[in-house]
Amino acid sequence: MSDANYVKITRPTPDWYDSKRADEVIVAYNTGGGSAQPADPFVAESVIPAATGSMRDFSYIAPDLPELTAENCVGCMDCVNNCPDTAILGKVATRGQLEQTLADFPAEQRQLLTDQFVETTKYFKAFEKKHEKDATAPEGGLFGIFIDPTKCKGCGECVEVCGDRNALKMIKKTPDNLPDYFGMWKLHNRLPASPEAYINPKVAVDLMLKPSHSHYVGGAGSCMGCGEASVIRQALAATAEKVGENYGIVAATGCNTVYGSTYPYNPFTVPWTNSLFENAPTDAMGVRAFWDETGHDDRVLWVLGGDGAMNDIGFQALSRMLASGMNIKVLVLDTQVYSNTGGQTSTASFVGQEAKMSSHGKRDLGKLERRKELGQICMMHPNTFVAQSVGPITSHFFKSVNLALEFDGPAVINVFTTCQPEHGVADDMAAAQAKLAVESRAFPIYIYNPAAGRTMREKLSLIGNPNIDRDWASRKRKDGTTETVTFIDWCKTEGRFRKHFDKSGKPTELLLRSQQERLENWWQLQDLAGIRNKDQEAAAEKG
């Protein structure tokens, strides 16, 4: 097996915290003895020791594992950022560090291990050029991508986001190749952390090169390819860059709390609490008030919750929290459905969407109400920062998080997160579907920053959406012809809208109505942002 994976927590622990007992519990659960455990202070306090998810072993689950073709890798970190399970990590090493570490490995393994590294432009050539001019500057670093076989569930998301770079492909996991993965992971763990000199603090996607920024360590029971978990990882890495470990999380009940706190596995290294489904913002107000009164006003406080918690049952609590002006940041994991309880409609669901309690049948054709736009509602609260984003458009996402953290007051970031079982998409499609949701106007991205100006158009930016001044986006097909990307085109790719298409692919009237509703939502955003719509102007000229 690999070297010990357990992430060491350095922060002080309470007096009653029994480290020995924590180890006993994890070992018991890892070896099938969980149900025979006696009660202990952890159970009594409803506490799960931090980062115990790092000790969970999923190597019996994944049917496939990603394989790296190092020479094609550019070090873009897309695979690392979009992995929901902290199962694929990047590492920069100097040639000296690599040689020194490899010396401890059997000779027959060394070629395989060396082959995991590549001289990229980003970490090698750019640094070599500087080193040639200034001998004191660091030499080029070697870059490698490594899979943790105990965390990878085999969703293939990393391969999908790597795309035409073809640096990753999925291969079948077998008894012959699994030991190689453990060997490579051992090398990753034995190498020192990527030297700071190679990490550009201005490049947000590189934050995950820092082990100190991995505040979500994996080992969570989320579904293969879960779109939520990768977004949480990215948000926490950005927070770590701003304030280190000086923050806490209040989570609203939902998928995120189920996979995030399945005893005894805790994927978080930072303080995290869960009260109820409907009251996370209220709970957070109490924490904020206590921290502020006890001299901890520098601490960041995150609230995590799904669209059910924030749009529906907890909406009032959220609205009250925003109105309070308290410095609390909210990350909404918008799957447009109650994923945790089996796929019921939420007010974030799209018109026509097939969901439990809005089933597609003879009388009704799925959800009939319009989608509630949480972001736009939040914008109308006083002095509130709002962003709507998706994780795989990484610069936009990290910018949203950074601005939210810098904003002196409440902030809400509503993020489209793919839920494979309830959206009816394949395990490796979280990023692809989120990006298509943006391009099809199903889920436009924007940043509303009250600090950016006085007028609405100064505060609201739609940068990041394609064809910002048109009704629909367009793109080139591989054959060179142009196609328009509509909401209907996106619906065709998701099982939740399957029943709206006949055999020839013709959509129902309801779905066309849903498309019109999405277009009107886009027009509203364009109007608020002061964007002139060329298509509408042309239509008006024609009369």
């Binding site: 873009c76 980003k122 073809n166 012959d176 009816g424």
Partner: protein
């Protein structure tokens, strides 16, 4: 060398659609509005650092073995040392090459940055020459119209070393004798050899057996609740609309089974 140069220039500069992945990365990493892409490629891209340019354009300029196959003839005709390769890249980078990209209803010209040229040319592995015995074996056993592709695949490092070359010869001669060759299968075989690094034909046979066994072990019942199966199962309402990777896995299993059968057939023929 002149012909090789012209071929490289034609490949690098041929008009092509700006792919979705490149467009998205360009917009994201450069915080660019889509209606500014065309002028940005003409005037702004050279202000971007090389690493970002590499990240943005690598999906369009990472050659695969199909691309390498188109250069096999050239590589056999001229000797390209690493020094010569670097000189070719320098020459092309200094030539002011301009590529044209099709984007929406427009054409976007861009002077090719050196990092893009370097990526494409270096990864074609023009410096790799097949050992004579391998080249001759390919020419003697593989149909002429597939020889360039097989040579490109056999040029990969996975096939180097006495053990692997022995395995390669076994397959080449076996395919020739049995008529069971296909390019797809040979590509898959090359991938397996890369992953498993077998040291003999028998070793490889056992690895293929274990691979097939692994596929079969996972193909059991995944649903224990009939209602869940009805909704989320293979033909359920919430089954994925599009699952190319699932189809790909089926194809992989079929190719692995074919390779196992090939080895059995080779043995039978050799015994007969």
């Amino acid at each position: 060398m002149k012909r090789l140069r012209e071929k490289l220039i034609a490949d690098l500069t041929r008009p092509r659609p700006l792919t979705d992945q490149v467009t998205r990365t360009l917009m994201d990493r450069c915080e660019l509005r889509s209606d500014r892409i065309v002028p940005f490629l003409a005037d702004g891209i050279h202000k971007v650092d090389e690493a970002t340019i590499d990240t943005i354009f690598s999906p369009m300029y990472t050659p695969d073995w199909h691309d390498r196959a188109r250069y096999v003839e050239d590589v056999e005709r001229v000797s390209i040392t690493p020094a010569v390769l670097s000189a070719i890249i320098d020459d092309l980078a200094g030539s002011g090459l301009t590529a044209e990209y099709l984007y929406e209803d427009d054409t976007a010209p861009m002077r090719l940055p050196e990092v893009v040229i370097d990526r494409w040319v270096r990864r074609l592995h023009l410096e790799v020459r097949l050992p004579d015995k391998i080249r001759q074996a390919v020419e003697a056993t593989i149909p002429k119209d597939a020889q360039a592709e097989v040579k490109a695949l056999t040029g990969q490092p996975a096939w180097r070393g006495d053990h692997r070359e022995g395995i390669l010869i076994t397959f080449l001669t076996g395919f020739s004798r049995t008529g069971r060759f296909s390019v797809d299968k040979f590509e898959y075989l090359t991938g397996l050899v890369h992953t498993y690094r077998p040291h003999s034909v028998d070793h490889f046979r056992s690895q293929v057996d274990a691979l097939i066994q692994s596929y079969h072990e996972e193909s059991g019942e995944h649903f224990f609740d009939p209602h869940l199966k009805e909704v989320y199962g293979p033909d359920g309402a919430m089954s994925p609309v599009h699952d190319p990777y699932g189809d790909h896995r089926q194809r992989q299993l079929s190719l692995a089974t074919e390779l196992k059968d090939d080895l059995a057939e080779f043995a039978t023929q050799a015994a007969g």
